[in-house]
């Protein structure tokens, strides 16, 4: 199962973070990322640029309204994320606890939904026009596992 680790930092934490030498931050995060790569659990991870650089698209208007600037307050923001593939919620929590973050910072850990969360007989799979044209006559083999796809 996959979990997303969402980095959240309040104003104080952001200010404290700015005082730490950049190289030191990069190194600590690099080591953390490397340990997760070596364990084969890290499948994606990105840092986000400063929130003031961001913008918001509001779907309450039609067409949606685009405004510059951060979304909400600092504590509502997130600054980066990791996606881990692990065998249990506890394993996700264990990795999250090892993250080199300090006071004021939190990690929100959420399970990423997969196909098991959706009804398997759902129709959207079959709807789009032209999608399934001609395919009835064409079964293909591929490796590994041969003809079954």
């Amino acid at each position: 199962m996959q979990y997303m680790l969402i980095m959240r930092a309040d104003d104080d934490a952001v200010a404290t973070y700015r005082e730490i030498p950049f190289e030191q931050v990069i190194e600590a995060m690099g080591k953390y990322n490397e340990s997760m790569m070596e364990a084969g659990v890290l499948i994606a991870g990105e840092g986000l640029s400063d929130a003031s650089e961001g913008f918001v698209v509001d779907f309450s208007a039609d067409p949606p309204l685009v405004t510059d600037g951060p979304y909400g307050e600092t504590k509502e923001l997130f600054n980066g994320f990791w996606i881990l593939e692990v065998s249990s919620k506890e394993e996700a929590a264990e990795w999250a606890s090892r993250c080199p973050l300090g006071p004021g910072a939190k990690l929100e850990v959420r399970r990423v939904t997969g196909p098991e969360d959706f009804p398997a007989d759902n129709e959207w799979v079959q709807k789009e026009e032209g999608w399934r044209e001609e395919q009835a006559a064409r079964k293909a083999a591929d490796a590994p596992g041969g003809v079954a796809g």
């Binding site: 044209e133 001609e134 293909a140 083999a141 041969g146």
Partner: protein, 434 residues
């Protein structure tokens, strides 16, 4: 089957749930640290089998103590220290100080060896205990089955019961397999070290083979009622990622990772509403895991980037990539797929590869040309008893409009299929004749 009855939670239930959650927390640490702990202990004791036993005993202690007394700050250090103490107790109990001395001497020797390796730069030296552990678990003196069991237990940190469940065999069978494997390693006096460069490529090949075997068992279960066991396949992908991090200079490691990611990307579309297998041509490609495809393609580019051409895993990954990037069967680059199969046949001729190539040929040259290839393969020993050849034959015959013959071929394939889900699909096609 009876419906479970919901009862109000009692104090006992709550305690059991708390216990269960504490237990899972210990197991989580174990999954992360087990390989490193066993590797460190093997170096400490000079005895892989003993190290594995001690680590398991330390885990058992943790399962009792952590829930009661709280988890230690550094779980890995705790487990390693407890296991080392157990090692010393073990030697003392057996009054074999000589062994202990030998082990300590071994440790010192290694430390010196490492110091020597550290300067200035030795391309042969890979200072990684985990890599040594993987190579030991996949050692050629072991049977493929033993390699798989040992790798899942010591490298992936799975419990014996989990491995047994994954392979649908009794727990005792896996236990026995692991005990025998450890005996075989001890009898062969397999040293805990990284082989020299010449031998390393071959040994690494064995490791990749084990990971591939674990994946294929999860990808297309050979027995049982379920068509796939994705957990097992995902464990294999994780192991491939571990290897790619350990051996970034080996193109075939990246190629294997690419193959597994690209194949696993199709999992969400491979199982139908009733758990039946959905053939590649019928899969809804919108359900494919785009992030996995991206990771797979990136790994394949890395493998190609070495400029040494692709090996067997790389060629299979290239085939998987052709499917991954095509929006449907018609727009798939079948010519590139046929070429990749040609390459595979050159590297390691196999009737199964030839059969798969025939299917690709049916897309470039039509079903008649493919049927000729398939019929020429009919005498091959590897295809004589399985369901693959008759099911491909049935497919091609159906496309040629030879419905009666197609029906016969599908019926034969259904008779030979081991997997219940697969058999059901083939029977349905035998009834339909197309």
């Amino acid at each position: 089957m009876t419906e479970p009855v919901m009862e109000p939670a009692t104090g006992d239930d709550r305690a059991r749930r708390a216990d269960d959650s504490a237990r899972r927390a210990v197991v989580a640490v174990w999954r992360i640290e087990s390989a490193r702990i066993v590797a460190t202990l093997t170096r400490f004791t000079g005895d892989f089998a003993l190290a594995e036993d001690l680590a398991q005993e330390a885990l058992a202690d943790a399962l009792v103590q952590w829930p009661a007394q709280g988890a230690p700050r550094n779980g890995a250090a705790w487990l390693t220290a407890v296991a080392k103490r157990k090692a010393i107790d073990h030697w003392r109990r057996r009054e074999r100080y000589d062994e202990r001395l030998a082990a300590i001497a071994h440790d010192l020797e290694r430390a010196e060896h490492e110091a020597a390796d550290a300067v200035p730069w030795d391309p042969d030296a890979i200072d990684d205990d985990v890599l040594r552990l993987v190579l030991t678990a996949c050692h050629p003196v072991l049977s493929p089955q033993a390699r798989v069991a040992l790798t899942l237990r010591v490298v992936a940190g799975l419990e014996t019961a989990e491995i047994a469940r994954a392979f649908l065999v009794p727990v005792a069978t896996i236990q026995q397999r692991i005990v025998r494997a450890k005996q075989a390693l001890a009898e062969a006096c397999v040293p805990f070290e990284t082989p020299a460069r010449a031998e390393r490529a071959q040994r690494l090949g064995a490791v990749l083979g084990v990971v591939y075997l674990i994946f294929t068992e999860g990808h297309a279960a050979t027995a049982g009622d379920e068509w796939m066991r994705p957990d097992l396949a995902r464990e294999a992908v994780r192991l491939a990622r571990v290897l790619a991090a350990l051996q970034p200079e080996e193109p075939e490691v990246h190629a294997l990772l690419a193959l597994l990611e690209l194949t696993a990307a199709r999992f969400p579309a491979r199982v139908g509403a009733d758990g039946e297998p959905v053939l590649l041509a019928d899969q809804d490609r919108r359900r494919w895991d785009r992030a996995a495809i991206r990771r797979g393609r990136a790994a394949l580019r890395r493998a190609e980037g070495f400029g040494r051409g692709l090996g067997p895993y790389g060629l299979q990954a290239a085939i998987a990539e052709c499917h991954a990037v095509a929006s449907d069967v018609a727009s798939t680059d079948w010519a590139r797929i046929v070429a990749a199969y040609d390459g595979l046949l050159q590297l390691s001729p196999s009737p199964i590869v030839a059969l798969n190539r025939a299917v690709a040929v049916s897309m470039t040259e039509g079903p008649a040309a493919a049927l000729a290839i398939v019929d020429a393969l009919a005498g091959e020993r590897a295809l004589r008893t399985g369901h693959l050849l008759p099911s491909v034959r049935g497919e091609l015959l159906a496309r040629l409009g030879r419905d009666a013959e197609a029906r016969e071929a599908f019926a034969l394939a259904a008779e030979r299929a081991q997997n219940a889900r697969e058999r059901a699909v083939l029977l349905a096609r035998a009834a339909a004749g197309r």
